[in-house]
Symmetry: C2
């Protein structure tokens, strides 16, 4: 099976209490693809960058089995740039700069060779653009996962709802689930959001883990308690990448298998935040991944006999 990833490829400049970076590689599709590459060797990227985007970054993506034929490089233009500064609690951040550049008129084109992808991951983007990708697929993918954010709820809610109605899995954080549903209880929020179309909802709670809902079931994956969260940038995208990468490789979209996928997603997020940017995600070994999964098992596994 193969995976199609749509989203931003960008430059980020990040400041956290632990230090700051110059312009480094970032973007939702970058994190998603890299995280997915530890599971699937058949990843197809659709995104856009400017002429300033270094060839070495493209080669790095290709070394991670990421097909970059769908990465548009716009002559005379600049790559999307974001800079931000995290507060001490690492849960909140201020955006310092957003330069849309090539993103301003991004018109994703799904190459013919990508048409057979059975898994589609729509990273956070303008909802209308995400929808254009779905509409370009000649055969509907087996599973479409959509990530979005509160910004689109504020300025393009109806468009977003239209896109949400076309996907199988929606991923949002807890605040966004509350905003989208108008419900404070996440259980009630999930019911309302599932009624909008998706069969599955993932609510990401950062350091508090993630919830996977379908109409009848709920699963909770913890976040690993870490000594240091170095840089939270890309954690949600790494989660999504691990999730969709695992599903693509195992070809199994049952709730049971999605539970495993959520654990693998959580593992990728836990790696991501341990270094700046994509630093940790570009050089993981299978042994590191296995050890991390074992930590998740040890963290929540218990063996209980019922009473009556």
């Amino acid at each position: 099976m193969s995976l199609l990833v749509i989203g931003t490829v960008a430059f980020d400049a990040i400041e956290t209490p632990f230090g700051k970076t110059d312009k480094i590689l970032g973007g939702a599709a970058t994190y998603i693809s890299l995280a997915a590459s530890y599971f699937s060797k058949n990843i197809n990227l659709v995104s856009v960058v400017g002429e300033d985007f270094p060839q070495e970054n493209i080669k790095m993506l290709q070394r991670h089995y990421i097909n970059t034929d769908g990465l548009q490089i716009l002559k005379g233009q600049k790559t999307f740039f974001w800079s931000g500064k995290y507060h001490t609690d690492m849960n909140t951040r201020d955006t310092i700069t957003t330069e849309l550049n090539v993103l301003e008129n991004f018109n994703p084109v799904v190459p013919e060779a990508y048409q057979d992808c059975e898994f589609l991951m729509l990273g956070n983007l303008v909802p209308k653009v995400q929808r254009q990708v779905i509409e370009q697929m000649k055969t509907r993918p087996k599973l479409i996962v959509l990530d979005t954010m509160n910004f689109w709820m504020d300025i393009a809610l109806e468009d977003l709802k239209k896109t949400i109605s076309m996907v199988d899995v929606l991923t949002v954080n807890d605040g966004e689930a509350r905003q989208l549903s108008g419900e404070y209880s996440l259980v009630k929020a999930a019911q309302k959001i599932l009624a909008m179309g998706p069969k599955y909802l993932i609510i990401k709670k950062g350091e508090h883990g993630a919830l996977l809902f379908n109409k009848d079931q709920v699963f909770f994956a913890p976040a690993l308690p870490l000594e240091e969260v170095f840089d939270p940038t890309g954690a949600g995208d790494s989660f999504a990448g691990g999730f969709i990468g695992y599903l693509t490789e195992t070809k199994d979209i049952s709730f049971e298998n999605m539970k495993r996928a959520v654990i693998f997603g959580s593992a990728m997020a836990s790696f991501c935040v341990e270094k700046f940017g994509t630093e940790k995600l570009v050089a993981l070994t299978p042994k590191q991944l296995d050890d991390r999964i074992q930590e998740f098992i040890d963290l929540v596994q218990f063996d209980i006999a019922l009473i009556s």
Copy 2:
């Protein structure tokens, strides 16, 4: 084995977005004892109330196998009273009234018949008073669990640290763990707090679950995602009661068994918040408890094969 519970028995008046109550039965020791009574039939209470405390409440406690011989009833005095109002998020509240009454000069006396208790639960109280109880025990209990709060960190930190150094398990919430340790990372906070004396630390995160630490291990118990949190009052105490009640009954203080105890504690907390005050805790069936435990198993249980 038997359990000794020290803490407040009180009247509460509670307002939440779902309604408000008149003076109802409350107090840390009340919630702890009631929750523990679903596991142990040998619970001994030390607390103090005024002449205004209804006999029917005492009878209710006794029906839950709670020995009230150590419950002092002070003639001509009034029971401790607290009233508060919860905000919409249910995570924060304003105290409206605190009338210490009988608590002002509470001098706990451990009856001779309680001296053989092997499990001791010190509910939130003045740290010096908690210590007086430990010092009254002729034989040190097998396990001493201490609950406390930020208030004592603000006004009696050295006293609190002295008491903490004498116990086996400390329970605090995440904000309190950060305050006590001066560390934002809960992993680092746990290491610092364990260096203060306790062999185990439980960090309660409310709707985000609870972490159990010892020097080398960590276990995470989720909170059950609920449709409604009706009244959070007593949730932490119900957690502690389920935890210590289960340990008392199983007589096993290994880390493996403490993991189970944390799950039972979480189950009792999840029941507690579904109704006002102690309403739900006074009338649970073994079947209800089993069903709830099964929900916890279903919520976090997954079956994963490592990759390499």
